[in-house]
Symmetry: D2
Subunit: 294 residues, 4 copies
Amino acid sequence: MSGATVGFVGLGAMGRGMAGSLLRAGHAVRVWNRSPEPVAALVSQGAEAAGSLAEVFAADTVVSMLANDQAVEGLLLDPELLAGAKATLHVNMATVSLALAERAEALHAEHGIGYVAAPVLGRPPVAEAGKLNILAAGAPELLDRAEPLFAAMGDRTWRFGDAPRQANTAKISTNFLLACAIESMAEACSLAEAHGVRPTDLVEMLTGTLFPGPIYSGYGSMVAERRYEPAGFRLPLGLKDVGLALEAGAARHVPLPFGGILRDAFLDALAHGDGEKDWAAVAEVARRRAGLPD
Amino acid sequence: MSGATVGFVGLGAMGRGMAGSLLRAGHAVRVWNRSPEPVAALVSQGAEAAGSLAEVFAADTVVSMLANDQAVEGLLLDPELLAGAKATLHVNMATVSLALAERAEALHAEHGIGYVAAPVLGRPPVAEAGKLNILAAGAPELLDRAEPLFAAMGDRTWRFGDAPRQANTAKISTNFLLACAIESMAEACSLAEAHGVRPTDLVEMLTGTLFPGPIYSGYGSMVAERRYEPAGFRLPLGLKDVGLALEAGAARHVPLPFGGILRDAFLDALAHGDGEKDWAAVAEVARRRAGLPD
Amino acid sequence: MSGATVGFVGLGAMGRGMAGSLLRAGHAVRVWNRSPEPVAALVSQGAEAAGSLAEVFAADTVVSMLANDQAVEGLLLDPELLAGAKATLHVNMATVSLALAERAEALHAEHGIGYVAAPVLGRPPVAEAGKLNILAAGAPELLDRAEPLFAAMGDRTWRFGDAPRQANTAKISTNFLLACAIESMAEACSLAEAHGVRPTDLVEMLTGTLFPGPIYSGYGSMVAERRYEPAGFRLPLGLKDVGLALEAGAARHVPLPFGGILRDAFLDALAHGDGEKDWAAVAEVARRRAGLPD
Amino acid sequence: MSGATVGFVGLGAMGRGMAGSLLRAGHAVRVWNRSPEPVAALVSQGAEAAGSLAEVFAADTVVSMLANDQAVEGLLLDPELLAGAKATLHVNMATVSLALAERAEALHAEHGIGYVAAPVLGRPPVAEAGKLNILAAGAPELLDRAEPLFAAMGDRTWRFGDAPRQANTAKISTNFLLACAIESMAEACSLAEAHGVRPTDLVEMLTGTLFPGPIYSGYGSMVAERRYEPAGFRLPLGLKDVGLALEAGAARHVPLPFGGILRDAFLDALAHGDGEKDWAAVAEVARRRAGLPD
């Protein structure tokens, strides 16, 4: 096996685009996924199929993009796997908790494997296009080493420090801001509607003036039009992300009052059966509180 | 007095730029202000000084840009003044409460004067440059009549409906969203800082990716750098605007949970002596809650 | 008119019981009410009917028990009335805002009339029985002078200081605590019910152990049994009282996070048509948030 | 070993009083504790010292009173221990999460051991006196069997249903109400103090009228006098209990807005170094928010 090979774990909606970007940039990629279907698709693009996680960790560098803490914990934080690894760098691009980030870093250090956190901003089509924003942290020499991979998968890499968890903090903070923006617009649109202003008019003005950009524009129109399906990002995942922020706050005694409101709003949405909708559906909670017509 | 003359009341930091824009666009403008200094400056630009509010209301159209409800109530909602007015249109561009907007509309109607609400987005230099965004509502024919004035003062006019209060609703909702954005960034930056991420790094990434635009960029850097002076918009004015949103919500039974948090945060900031700072200083409350170094 | 006569203004559900208590204790009472019916009832108990407020204020001491700020402001804070008064003491027993309490004190001082605030705890039957708790504040010699009246109307008088507004503060704080207790039980009962515990079992245990007393017991059973009618204290009055606390907090920059939650919960209840129910019906908001069966 | 012997695990401040009560009531008690000191004290009162947890579970009935989920999980939810147990009833009197309660019940059922949850209300001196209030749930025949033990340890047993977790729900709800009462008084006392009313006067009146009982009286005076040491119940334990309520809420999608406020207040208190104080010290957060003198 050549040292230039990149091991890649996790071919979900995001991971398959990212692995594809690596292939298109000329990297040799050895892929593994819990379910076999996405593996075949990547192999048809030139990837090598790994027979086991151990084979992935026989590559010099491993990139992983798993769904959450549980998946990372269950699949990768395996002392046996790490003890037998030839890899000297693991780039974890998942959105995970700070507690997991710390455990992961310590465990990799024990086994002499470099560990870098590099969660991303961007939806699957952006991953597909290799245009992600990558939030990275870790030892500078490791980040330098990962740079060609980042260049293949992303538009730009933002560095947040020497400790991997700093990148996870940045990602968690960003998702917290997304949720705050959605709830803000939800409350503003309910206020507007209750006073006879069309939410679509409000959002059009807002995004045409002070609040340009994909979040206010994208979620703003979903909220204003009450269009929550198909779900780009499901509501329970939103609650999970708010939970990551609250947990990160608790670990350092940082109160997050907006976070508490968000948590309750997402629970309220789930209590009313909106778990399969986009997290923008939290706006229905604001409407229900105000008794606006269903 | 020619029918083409525009009466203008309120030459504060915003009003003087707006009146100047009208002059530059070739309108004849008759100005009045409580204190005389700004009048002289406008006269030197070609305006006529009114000797009284009655002289202002002798013009066909009156534009007013006063500081708040109290000023509008005290100066303009004067039955005697309105009864004697020749003006047939009053364009009120101040940010006022919905309750005042309703009283103003009713009182003008009693005296047969058209009333339009047209609060604006933009700071004094934008007013000076005639590049404001104007949020307008009122009878369509009145809005059409005001359009040449709007064109002189603003970049774009956004119409929100036939009832003047709809424009005030849009403005109040917008300011509410500004306050929400500031508090969101304050909480996110405290979270980041507590975990060793530099808030300036976080804000640079955010504004370079998902949150472009003047609000996240301008207030984001103020929050991240803890730079709250000189005040572009003083904290007590921020509390006043949050209060307008809460009051508007209460009038239609619209709970605004983020609004409640904002109110407490602004009170906390005032309790700690930050009343002369920019409203971005509410971020210090988030830092204090988390025990971050002063 | 004898110096021993007490003028009494405001014969609502509370006032008529209080005036009756004064009569039963042997005081000469001259009564006035906006609507005439309650006057006749008191006259049949031995009271004298006043032909005007001026006649009430011709008595040595005036006791007033009006519904709210508006009534006090409109009827009693009348410079002409006070200028012509022979009364040297006005005991205001209404629950009013601190702002009104301050205006009232200042205006009475201008006219050389002693002013005491003495809001009460207790429902109409308690007023009827002369068993109220009286929260009093004002100059000690005035409080001493009012003591025989307090003794007739109440079980106990609690003194809070020399400035009348201190008694209003105590009353506003007490009502705030009532609202907090109701919301606390509402949330706890929703939590219990969602996990299969009968709210009535929970409340029975709570009031039998750590939370005895009329509030937890009375409101607890209303919440647990979802019994909100007939209304002992209507929901909009509860919102008004929460508003008095928030306003009092704002005046001294005291954030009240529970107050913000209460405000939203009461608005939510009003938005859902519960304005005629007892304020314990705010518990339905907690149930609705959790999606509990209607 | 006689069938009448009761195994007892956990001789902390509460457990030693409870085991002592069992002894005084004539029960044969075999005790185990992680650290040996309390064992000796109980042995001197007539208890038998168990050499291992297995010896405890050789008794017919086991009572456990451990500190938290971690202790219960680590010591008692041990499949080997339960598989070898002769005990047919385990009465778990600790305050634990609902998630743990469910796992515990299922695991005991697998091994054919009856499981009852019976958390208690009362501080150590009350445990010592055998006057606890016991919140119990489980199969009726198991509760009946435990009744003599309950009678020895408590004043009264409150039954909440057939599923053990119902008792845990009742306990978690009760502790949530305690925290709400403390925060309510903290806010009310800050409001009062800011307006010149002595918090001690306010609390004296409150507890003498509408809010009798140990909670408002005990915590009220601590808050009013700012007396937080010695700690009867440490602040981090309060945060843990609030967390149990929030977690229980989340499991059934029950928003708890007061809970979110409490969480932030406790974090704020910890951020300011009050972790060794009584949880009533959360009142300092309310004072700090309002800028009241330190």
